[in-house]
Amino acid sequence: MNPWGFVQVALALLLSPLLIGVINRTKAFVAGRRGTPLLQLYHDAAKLLRKGAVYSRTTTWVFRAGPIVALAATLGTLPFLPAGGLRAVLWFDGDLLVVIALLGVARFLTVLAALDTGSSFEGMGASREVTFSALAEPALLLGLAAMGREVGSLSLSDMSSGLTAAKWFQAAPAMMLAAAALLVVFLAENARVPVDDPNTHLELTMIHEVMVLDHGGPDFGVILYGSALKLWVLGTLLVNASLPVRTSSVAIDAAAFLAGMLALAVLTGLIESAMARLRLAHIPQLLVGATALSVLAIILVLR
C-alpha cells in the first residue's frame, strides 16, 4: 500500500476531463477554428448534473444502473494505476487483470443499458462495441505482457517504475511494437478516430455515442465523466509504457508523466485531424493487426 498513490487518483479525478478539452482544442487549431474552451467538459458535466431526467418507457432498472456501474468500475481501476515512477495505491503481480476486468464490467453494463432501450440504433452500437472490444482485449493484455516479461512482473506499478530508460532502450523494438499496439487499443477503446468518430452526427455510423443516445440529465453527466476517466486510465497505461523517464526525483517523474499525458492528447487530436474514420468492416483488421504487433513484441522479449 502506497499512500502517495492517492495523488495519482486525485490527478485522474481532477484532470481527466481536461484531456478531452486538449484533444478538441488541438483539432480546432489544426482546422483553423477557435474551438471550445479547454474546460468545456467540466461545464457540460456540471450542467447535466443539475438537470432532471427523461427515461424511455421501455427501459428498466438496468438502464438506470448502467452509467453509475460503469463509472464505479472505472473509478475502481484508479487504486491500481501508477503514474510514471509513482506507484499506485495497491499492487500485486497480475493487478493489470483487475484493471482490464473492471473496464470490462463498465463496458458490459453500458452495452446492456443500450440494449435496454429497444432501439435498433443502440443495438447497433452495442453490437459493434462488443465486437471491437473482444478483439482489442488480447492486444492490450499481450502488449502489457510483453512489457511484464521484460520487467519481470505483471504488476502495473512494477512495470511502470521498473521500466527505466536503460531497460526500455535495451528492448526498444519490442517496447515500440507494444506501445503501438497499446496506442491502437487506446484509440479503439475510447471511441476515437480511426475506429469511431466522437463528432459524428449520424446514428448509423456511431459506436460509443449511439449507445448512450437515450441517456440524459445526471446519467449523461456521469457517462461523460466516466468516458473521460477511461481515456485517462488507458492513456496512463500507454504513457507509462512509452515514456521511460524514471529518475530519483518524484517531481521530474510526475512532470514527465503529465507532459506525456498532454502530448498523448495532442497526438490524438492530430490523428483525428489527419485521418478519417475507417470503414466499420476494416476495423477488425486494425485490431487484429494490433494483436499481431503485441505477439511480435512478445516473441522479441522471449527470444
Binding site: 427523461v54 475502481g76 446492456l112
Partner: protein, 661 residues
Amino acid sequence: MTLLLAAILLLILSGVAALVSEDASHPSASMGAFGAAAGCALGLTAALMVLIGGQTESLRLAWSVPRGAFLIELDPLSAFFLIPTLGLSGLAALYGSEYLQAGGVRRALGPSWFFFNLLVASMAVVLVARNAVLFLMAWEVMSVSSYFLVMHESEKESVREAGWTYLVAAHLGTAFLIVLFLLLGREFGTLDFGGPGRTIAAAPQVSGLLFILALIGFGTKAGFVPVHVWLPEAHPAAPSHVSAVMSGVMVKTGIYGLARILTFLGPPQGWWGWVLIGMGLSSGILGVLFALAQHDLKALLAYHTVENIGIIALGLGLGVLGLSAGLPGVAVLGFAGGLLHVLNHALFKGLLFLGAGAVAHGSGTREMDEMGGLLKRMPWTGATFLVGAVAISGLPPLNGFVSEFLIYLGAISGLHSPAATAVAGVGVMGGLALIGGLAAACFAKAFGIVFLGEPRSGHAEHAHEAGPLMRLSMALLAISCAAIGLLAPRVVRAMSPAIATIAGLTPGRCRDLLTPGTGSLALVVTASVVFLVLVLLLAVLRRALLAGRTVSETGTWDCGYARPTPRMQYSASSFAQPLTDLFGPVLRTERRGSPPRGYFPDDAAFATKTRDVWREELWRRVFAAAEWVLSKFAWLQQGRVHLYILYIALTLLALLIWGLP
C-alpha cells in the same frame, strides 16, 4: 462415509418410490424430488466434512467380481467434486419438482424422477469408486439414466436424434475407458485403485498411451472439441433442470476422471500439458464462437459449456506443464484455477440453465428472436440470470472472474519462467483474453435480447414469472456465485487439500505455494468491495440529485421515425453478426431467405442456421464410412437369440483354447 452411503441409498430408494407409485399425481412425484434434495443435502454434509477435515475415509467390501473388492473412498479430490455435484443436483431437484408439474404435456413423472435420482446417485458413486469395475458400472448407469432423461420429450424427432447421438458418443467414450482401465489394472496388478499416492511405474510410452486414452474417453464426457458433438444437442433437449445437472456437473465427471488418472500416472510429461492447453484453446474459442451463432437460448448455453470446459482444460494443462517443468508454483495455480472453475461453472451454468428453463416455460419458446422485455415480466428470473451472465463472462465481483484470474496468475508465473513455459503462459493469457471478450459479447446478447427491450412476439408479451421453488433455487445459486466471488481466498484455502491431491504435493506445501495467489485474491476482493461500495455511493448520489426534479417518461429516441415497432429492434442474430461474419470461415453459417423486391415488397424472409462443423464435416463422414464397413457384416446379425448364444459360446471356447498353457 456412512453419511454418504445413506445419501446414495436415499437417492435410489426415493427414485424407486417415485417409479412404483402408480399415478403421476403430485405427492408421489414430489417424493422423488424431495428425496433427491434430502439425499443431496446429506451427501453434501459428508463431502464438506471430508474436505474441511482433510482426512480420507474408505470402505472395502468383498464381492464376487475378480481381481478386486468393492472399494469406495472419499478423499479431498472426490469430496471437492461431490460438492458441486450434490449441491447443484439438490437445487435442480427442487426446481424440477415445480418445473415438471407445470409442463404443458401431461405425462407420468415417476420415470423421470427415477432416472434423475439414479443419475445423481451414479455420479456420486463415480466420484468415490476406487475399483475399475465399480467405476465403469456407475459410469454406464450415469450415461444410460441421463440418456432416458434427455428422451423426456421423445415425441419430438429432434429430441430422439439428440438422444441417439448422445448414446453413441457416450458408449464410444466408454470403450476407450475400458481399455484404459484394463491397461491400468495390468500395471497395478489389481483393479483396485484406492490408497493415497499410488502411481504406476511404467515406461513413458505406456503412461503416454494411458493419458491419451483417458483424454479421449473422459474428454468425450467432458465435451472437448472435437468429441463434443453430442453435447450441444443433448443438453438443450433435456428438461431444463436436467440440462443444468448435465451441463453443470455431469460433464465434470469427465474432468474428475482425467484428474484422477493423472494422479495414477506419476510425473507427467511436458507434452501432456501442451495437449491439454491446445485442447483448452480450441474448445474455449470454438465453443464461444458457436455459442455466439446460436439463437436457441439453451443451445447457446450448451456451447458455453464446451467453452468453459476449455477454460478448465487450460488450468489443468498449465498445472501439468508446471509439474513437468519443475515449477510447482505454476502448477498449483493452474490446478487451483481449473478446479475452482469446475465449482464455479457448476454454479453459474446451473443458474443459467434454470433461468433459461424459467424463460422457456414462462414464454413458451426458446427462440431468442421471439423474446425481449422479459425483465419486466419475470423480474426474479431476469435478475438472477444477469448474475449468471456476469459470472460466466468472467467479470468481477463474481466467481467466474476469480477462477479465471487464478489461471491467469498461473500463466503469469509461467511467463516469468524459462521460454518454453513462458510461451504456454502467453498462449493461455491471449486465449483467455479472447474467450473472455467473446463470452462477454455472447452474454450481452443473451441477456440483452431476452430480457431487455420490447417483446418481439406474443410469446414474450404474455410471459409470466416462475413459481416460488424455481425462484428459490435460482436465488440460492446466484447468492453462491456472489459468495465465492467475495470469499475467494477462503474458498481457495479450503480446497487446497484437493489441489494437493491432484498435484501430488503434501497439503502443507500446497498451501504454502498457494499463499501468494490467495494474497493476490485478497486484493482482488478488496477491489471488488471498493467497486460495490462505489456503486452504492453513486446510486445514493443519483437518487439525491434527482430528488425533487422532473423525471418523466417517453418513448425511445427513434430518429424521427413515425411508427417504430418492436420488430425493428436488433435481434440476437443481428447483434452477433459482426463477430459471426468475422469468423465466418470457421462457423459456416447457412443463410436462407428472400430479400424484399420491388417498390412495395409484400414478403421477405431471412433465416440463419449454424450447424456444428465437426459433426457435419468430420463425424458424419467417419460414421458413413463405418456404416459402409459394418454393413458387410450384417449377415452375422440374424435376429435369432439362439444364434447369438452360439456366438458367445464360440467366443468363450476360442478364448479358452487361446488361454491353454
